[in-house]
Structures are given as structure tokens and as C-alpha cells.
Symmetry: C2
Subunit: 325 residues, 2 copies
Amino acid sequence: MKLASLDLGGRDGRLALVSRDLSRAVLAEGIADTLQQALDQWADAAPRLASLSDALNAGTAAGSFPFDPAQALAPLPRAWQWLDGSAFHAHGELMAKVFNITNPQPHDKPLMYQGMSHQFIAPTAPVTLPSEADGIDFEGEYAVVTDDVPMGTDAATARGLIRLVLLVNDWSLRTLARPEMLTGFGWVQAKPACSAAPIAVTPDELGEAWKDGRVHLNLLVDWNGQRFGAANGGAMGFCFGELIAHAARTRSLCAGTIVGSGTVSNENYREVGSSCIAERRGIEIVDEGAARTGFIRFGDRVRMEVKAADGTSLFGAIDQPVVQG
Amino acid sequence: MKLASLDLGGRDGRLALVSRDLSRAVLAEGIADTLQQALDQWADAAPRLASLSDALNAGTAAGSFPFDPAQALAPLPRAWQWLDGSAFHAHGELMAKVFNITNPQPHDKPLMYQGMSHQFIAPTAPVTLPSEADGIDFEGEYAVVTDDVPMGTDAATARGLIRLVLLVNDWSLRTLARPEMLTGFGWVQAKPACSAAPIAVTPDELGEAWKDGRVHLNLLVDWNGQRFGAANGGAMGFCFGELIAHAARTRSLCAGTIVGSGTVSNENYREVGSSCIAERRGIEIVDEGAARTGFIRFGDRVRMEVKAADGTSLFGAIDQPVVQG
């Protein structure tokens, strides 16, 4: 099923089911007011939501109305936890080369940081940031939303606790990122709020494309109307189950925890493009000795979308301008 | 006023006022069900809570009952954001010496990481962790709870947006911490859930001890009944206003954001002791060439408390065992 949080009052929006073709929606009234509420009692809510979803897709759901993506907030407008991995080795190895990191992270343990989760920006809202000089960049990535995950859960079990899949733009401020990394404390200023596409999908909606705990689909990134990247999510060096298990090594995760893949990247990035500007700049540094591509300017527009095999938009689109705050 | 969240149902507990001497409590019924609710509408809730607090302290509050610390959850059992600084230079400089960090953070910018906030452990609940081999350590620190803080807020304005002060034990897993620092991504596995003392206080409750955006009081740490540290919070190299402004440089903070001081540490740590085991081990390494003091063993008990000038317990005590999970 496909779920969205509509901007009908409240900081968390109102939970709605959305039809497979994104044309119609219906509020999940009587089941859960918000997506977080549904996640807090998933075993009870999921079958009821699924019935309503089936009725919506059959055209028999009472009270359905046209789905307007402009009315959608992020599926979780705020979340209790956002843990973002860096699971694509092609990206990590390129960045290590660019930054002369002589001891890159070995591939036996995922890289992961804790990011801010009290705000996820709506898919069509302007993204407000203080300064172009901070090196504004996008990062297209997949993310999953978990159920409650007890401390010590293994990767195989964790994979079974994935409830939803999201499309996320992890906005990053590159000028601030490197100095924060060097402190060892990770990122605070370099990682402002992320954006999310309007639709959260259950893994079964992905069909064959959900395999090995990975989303085997191209993440389409357009920057000011030009195709910038179309890298495939299947290349993750660690699957989402492994990322969740890594996070749950010394803590329990609550229902509604969002775990990200990191910027989607493929070995053949010179052909498929990149999901962030930093990667393209890294390729330019390696190939040409210097970066040519600049970062985001205020007024720029970034669009991200993922198409199913039949051409339908799976998560709806993130499509928004960046403006000065 | 003094506020607590009592374990009377719900994941966020029920908001109560507690008398200055911690003997009596009364539910904030009709004002706010939970502390987060009160923070979400502080301008409206605060004067009403203050009136009830006055009545409680005067012995005239209807429905008051004896306050039982064992019934208290953390003031915010879950929070939307936890940003922890490392604001005591004495601690930072010692650790840099121990780890041979030749480029320690200059004192012109605070160190800060984003920690997990979806769980704060109740002050008397057992702390469950997977393994002694992880190097289990405590960190006694002060923290503040903010109102909404717009992006770009300066330090002076930020200080005026501090609504509450907390006493926090930031549990840390030292064996995991150093490898995570070296990745530059900061801590995930090394920073499990924190504990918090039962009482959140408004800054005015601290009287003269709240000055320059700092808590000028000794943080008493006992490990298995032995005094381990009594360092003073007044030695912060950055005040809480500066820490909040640092956090709000590229993001807005939501009401209920918790900002921590980092482990309380004084230049004369050989006399006043330390607020974490890692610091004592660091002193031993510097003075004697090797650490003698081991980390926490399962069954150990850690107590933290802060006394006002008149001897009353300001935040109530954190007093709990560490057990294997």
C-alpha cells in the first residue's frame, strides 16, 4: 500500500491511503490519525489499512478524493530517529580518494551517523537555508521505516521489521561538512533537515524491485530540469537489514525509526551520473584535476523521482526550490 | 517551578508539578497532559503551571500527593532532539593529550554531536547494555530544554529561549567510541540512551547558581557508593546560549530540544574528581603512564545528584544499576 500525510492540521498531518497510480486518496479515519500512530500499533493497523487501500484501488472506497501532491507533507513530518548510512562503496571509495583518506572504512562495518529527525521537509515546499557559501548539496537516497527493533536484533530479523520504504533528499552543506568530520563528533551544522517524497510504500509495492533488502530501481535526480543522476539502489554494499542491525547493536529502535542508505551511487557513475554534487565534483577532481561543477545557488530547483517498471511514479516526486532563509 | 513526568500510562508519562522540597506532587491536569505538550505551548502553559506550583508549595493545591521518585520517568521520556556539546575545556584538553590528538578543536567553536533522543531512561530504572567489553562509562552533565529556536538565532537570544534545566547521565561505550570517531561520522553504537534525573527545573529555581548561561553547582557522582566526582558546572567554556546558537546555525530547533553541556569537568580534576571514568583513566595515563581504573561492571550502581545551597536536592537523584541485556 501507499501512504501519505496530508497537510490538514497538526504537525504530523493526517494519514491517508493513496491509490497505486497516485490519482486518488482517502483518509485513514478510524484506523490512525497519523502515520506515527499507525506505526506504533502496526500489527493492528496494517491489515485495516490494507483493506482500505484495496477498496481505494478498486474504486469503492467511500470518501475518496483526488490526490494532490502539493497537499502532502513528508510521510513522517517529524520522526523520533533518523540514522543515515553510507552504504554505497563506489561513493565512499571515490570520496576517500578525493580527500586523501589513506585509511578508508573497511567494508566489514557500515558507516552511519545520527541526523536530525524533528523535521522532514514537505516534497514541494521551498528549502530554506542561510548561505550559498555553505556549499549546498543534495543527496538522493532510499530509506526504510522500521517497527520496534529490540537491541541486539540480527540483520535477517531486522529485514522483517521494515514496514515502509521512502525516497529522501538528505540536504548537505559541504563547506561545513569536512571540518565537522575532522572533530570526530560527526555532523550537526552540515546536516540540516532532509526532504522526503510524498508517498511511503510498503515493500510489497516494489514487487521484484525489493530484493535482498535493497531497492533495485534507478533514483532519478534532476537539477534545474537537467538529468543529473539515475543510479540504481541495488548496489548497496550493506542491505537495509544490516544497517538496522548495526544501529540496534547497543540500543532499541522505536517504531518509526528511519534508516537511510546514503547517497545512491554506482561503479559506473561516469555513465549513470550521481545522486549528489559532491560525487560529480569528486569525479572531476580525479579525471581533470579540479572540480568544475558548483554547488546549489538560491533559486535552483531539485527534483527526485523513482519509476516502477510500468512507468508509474512509486513515491511521487520531490520537486522544490532552494531559497535563502 | 519543578516538573516531573510520572509513570501513569502512556509513553510520555503524565506531567506533574513537584514541590520545592520534593515531598509533594500534583498532576498538571487541565493544563497539559505531558511535558512535551506544555513545551509546545509554553507561553500559555507556563503561567498556569506556575500558579499551580505556587499553590503546591503553599500547601493549598487540591489533589496533591506524596512525590515518589520511583514513579518518575525521565522528564522527557522521549524527545525530538538531543544535541550534546563538549563544553568543558579541561576535559577536552586532557582527552586530546591522552589520544595524542595534535590538532585539538580550537576554542572558537563548540564541539557537538547529535545523539539518540527517542528514549531517555528513568532515573531509577536499570540500565540495560549488551556487554562489559564495550567499556561502559557514565558522563554526568547538565542540559537545557529549549523553546522553538528559529534558524540563525544568536547566543544572547538563545539564552532567553531556555525553558528548563536537567541533570543527565550520558552513558557511553568507550571501546566503541574511538573507532566511530575515526570514521568522522560521529557516534551511533557508542552512545546508547541517556538517563535523566526526575525533576526538570525552570532556570529561576537555581537562583544565583544560574548565571552566564551556566549552572554554577557541583555535580555529585557516586559509583558503588563512593564519591567519584563533584565538578562545578560554572566552568563551561561555552554557555548554553552559545551551544544552542551553534546548533541553530543551519536548522530551526523545535520546542523540547535538549542541549547538553558534555561531561562536567574542572581544571583541578585531581581534587574535585571527574564526571566520567574516561577522564579519571586519562589522568592516570598522564600521571602514572597507564590507566588503573576499570570501566563499569554489570551490577554496579551509579548515582548523580546536585544540591542547592540549602542542601535540598535540585533535580532529585539518578540512582540505578547497570545490568546485562
